[in-house]
Symmetry: C2
């Protein structure tokens, strides 16, 4: 397959330039001030798909940010691969922690540094370039459809409905996604499990206006103190979540399967060193990889209330807020969990405060079987490029739309991730190694080749 390596080598500088153009558009989906950037980013993707060789591509409206759809149908009897990616990115705060400007990509130390460098502009764009490669070298063995959305980072609120409305357009055999990570640059892996998610904002109100903490302190409940108490009550001393019924639908993973999962290399000392903590904390009775792979979790993603400026202001504030999320495992229903949490959190609110719980978003978990043509094709593709069989991994992350695809379109997804844990996605100094970007472009055409062969639909 020397033509693949050669095409990449001959064109890689242009690939970077094109990717950088995509990254420079600050398409932060959670901030409404970036609405215009979302459309701009979608247009950029459309043009990229067309230039790469699609028969057609368009920016299609949804209830939220538009979806980019494009396709190349070479023969209806061949299998069809639907490429899913997202063009939206996370916010960039805390901005003072970045060493470079988040939307001005640079290559340094063999890595691309920028918001979206990995998640998911870098990983998504590999598919545009791999597609171009197959078209220009006349080696495309499948029909291809692109579905690129702009709301993944806010839980894909519009894409499920859009899929329902465009079922005919979205006929296909597999959804191919690069939005996950691999174990290490030389240890390929395929994500076979994703956690679900429920996310809420809570508001605790004490007095209806800020009070003087001297004149009222000690006599009137402080909503920050109360919120802290309530959050503290959400987990017991074994780090089990205390919401009644929370674990009811969690499938306990068998001892045998836990043994298999333990084969994934894991060095606890290195793990701690990488994030600079002296000790880890998690649910009693489970290892660190299990705590993120097969168990749910509870995190306060943000908290605020009272005086947060410079110096010392004494105040007994009126309100306190938190953004709270749980990660769920397959078989836990996020809608049910969302309801259970809301009911419980409201039920433990003392009568000296008012509590409002607003569900913000959610998604189901997902499991991909490893005895299935698309998984096998992905396995062979990695083997070819990396010289090693990839390891199946259950990720702690969530891509809620993946389970929606299965539900609405009846199509499974295969998660060929090329990111690394060190890529700092969602954080300051997000980056993506150049090598991973290029190897991704090299691996993807091999997936198409093997998928076409294994699907028994080869022309």
């Amino acid at each position: 397959m020397d033509y693949i390596k050669k095409y990449i080598e001959d064109n890689k500088e242009r690939f970077f330039e094109e990717l950088f153009g995509l990254i420079r558009i600050p398409s932060i989906s959670s901030l409404s001030e970036h609405k215009a950037d979302m459309v701009k980013c979608a247009e950029y993707w459309k043009e990229s798909i067309l230039k790469a060789g699609a028969d057609k591509a368009e920016v299609m409206p949804t209830d939220g940010n538009p979806v980019v759809y494009g396709e190349k149908i070479i023969d209806p009897s061949l299998p069809t691969v639907i490429v899913y990616a997202h063009y939206d990115v996370m916010p960039v705060d805390p901005i003072d922690k970045w060493h470079t400007k988040p939307f001005e990509p640079v290559i340094k130390d063999g890595k691309i540094w920028a918001r979206g460098a990995d998640d998911d502009k870098g990983q998504g764009f590999m598919h545009a370039k791999a597609f171009e490669l197959m078209v220009k070298t006349n080696t495309l063995p499948c029909n291809v459809k692109f579905m690129i959305e702009g709301e993944e980072e806010i839980g894909s609120p519009s894409l499920g409905k859009w899929c329902k409305e465009h079922k005919d357009l979205l006929k296909g055999d597999i959804i191919l996604v690069s939005d996950t990570s691999m174990i290490a640059a030389d240890v390929p892996s395929i994500t076979t499990g994703l956690r679900g998610l429920s996310y809420w904002e809570v508001e605790v109100t004490g007095p209806d206006h800020d009070l003087h903490s001297g004149l009222f302190g000690g006599a009137v409940a402080n909503p920050i103190n109360v919120l802290c108490d309530m959050i503290a009550q959400m987990q017991d001393k074994d780090s089990k979540i205390t919401v009644p019924g929370f674990y009811d639908d969690v499938l306990e993973v068998s001892a045998e399967e836990r043994k298999l999962l333990a084969k994934k290399p894991f060095n606890e000392e290195e793990y701690k060193k990488a994030i600079n903590v002296k000790a880890l904390k998690g649910e009693k009775g489970y290892t660190t990889p299990e705590r993120t792979g097969i168990r749910p979790s509870f995190d306060v993603c943000g908290i605020w209330g009272g005086y947060t400026g410079e110096g010392a202001k004494t105040v007994l504030p009126s309100k306190a807020y938190a953004k709270i999320s749980t990660r769920l495992v397959p078989n836990q229903d996020n809608v049910k969990i969302s309801k259970l949490f809301k009911e419980y959190f409201e039920s433990i609110a003392p009568d000296y405060v008012k509590v409002v719980v607003t569900p913000l978003h959610g998604g189901q978990g997902y499991v991909c079987p490893i005895d299935f043509p698309a998984y096998k094709a992905a396995e062979k593709a990695y083997e070819h490029v990396y010289g090693k069989q990839p390891i199946p991994v259950r990720s702690g992350g969530s891509i809620p739309i993946i389970s929606t695809f299965e539900e609405v379109l009846g199509i499974k997804s295969v998660l060929m991730g090329f990111g690394l844990e060190a890529d700092a996605i969602h954080s300051p100094n997000e980056n993506y190694p150049v090598e991973n970007f290029l190897k991704g472009i090299e691996t993807i055409p091999m997936f198409y080749k093997h998928f076409a062969e294994l699907s028994n639909k080869t022309a």
Copy 2:
């Protein structure tokens, strides 16, 4: 004393204009961007004292914001009243809760609306105008010294040292302060007790950078969750503060004195209605007035960490912060409490986080004896203007500098406050009734008169 009423009636429009000029300077001491305003405000006070009739006045440097000192010595054998006030104000956030602009004072519904309208520009300026009244009507019976500082709202960090350096300048018989409130517009009271204060900022660090809450959630301690746990541990179910040794120096108030304090009118239903809460919360075994008057309290004045913007961002943040304060009762030493808190808070930090506790400011409590000439003079002054004997009250607030005055200068203070609880000091929509402002100016000259008589120093 008709000349007093007449002078006020003839000049009140000018009094408002002059006060408004003072209020319009946004002298927020806790925000360094207002440094220039502090000097401007001090200059305004200096000019006001000179115009009112002082022999001299000057803006004197300190380690922080300047102090305005001015004096009129009519006869060294007469008693000397030192007027203390502060020209700095609290920050104005949350700014969106204000119905008017905080630094554009307006009179509406019989009240002056602005930051500082009461605390302490409105109350402080009454002394400038009462002084002017006595000078212009040739009725000043005492020597007067003004000491107006610009750091009260941040705990007066420089004034103690400045007092030590200017002991000779500050010789006097009583410190007169209007920076507290009275029970109601028709129920005069004198504050005889103030709570002390200790204030800290705490920083909790988990991982050294923000993490993806899916990939790491459940395996790595979240500093917000940990901070909430730690704050929850600071009080037990009876709302007692759990810091070991915290209550050691609290003087239990006798049953007899508690009976006396209970004479202050208090209506719990009205109190709850005024702040719109269904229930109150405080230390078990004490009434609401006791919880603020004779017992210490624990309040989180601010908390922040993680994602606090619009929408849902999933993140396992690196850091969480809180601003924490305790109000202390007389005999509790704030330096000792500050140390005890820091030690305890650090001791309960689990090994999966790092905790830094930074003391921000503190002050001692204060008690004023009620059998003492200045108290008696104040009592008579209120009686004359309000037709009622004022009630002695232990306030929950803190004016740390009051105990410093006693310690450094050996001079007691008398707290003739004319504010109301409804004045919303430290909060949005701070206000000060016009009537209280004018009655304050009417009452103060009577204090001077009676104080001169009772001091046995009358010329």
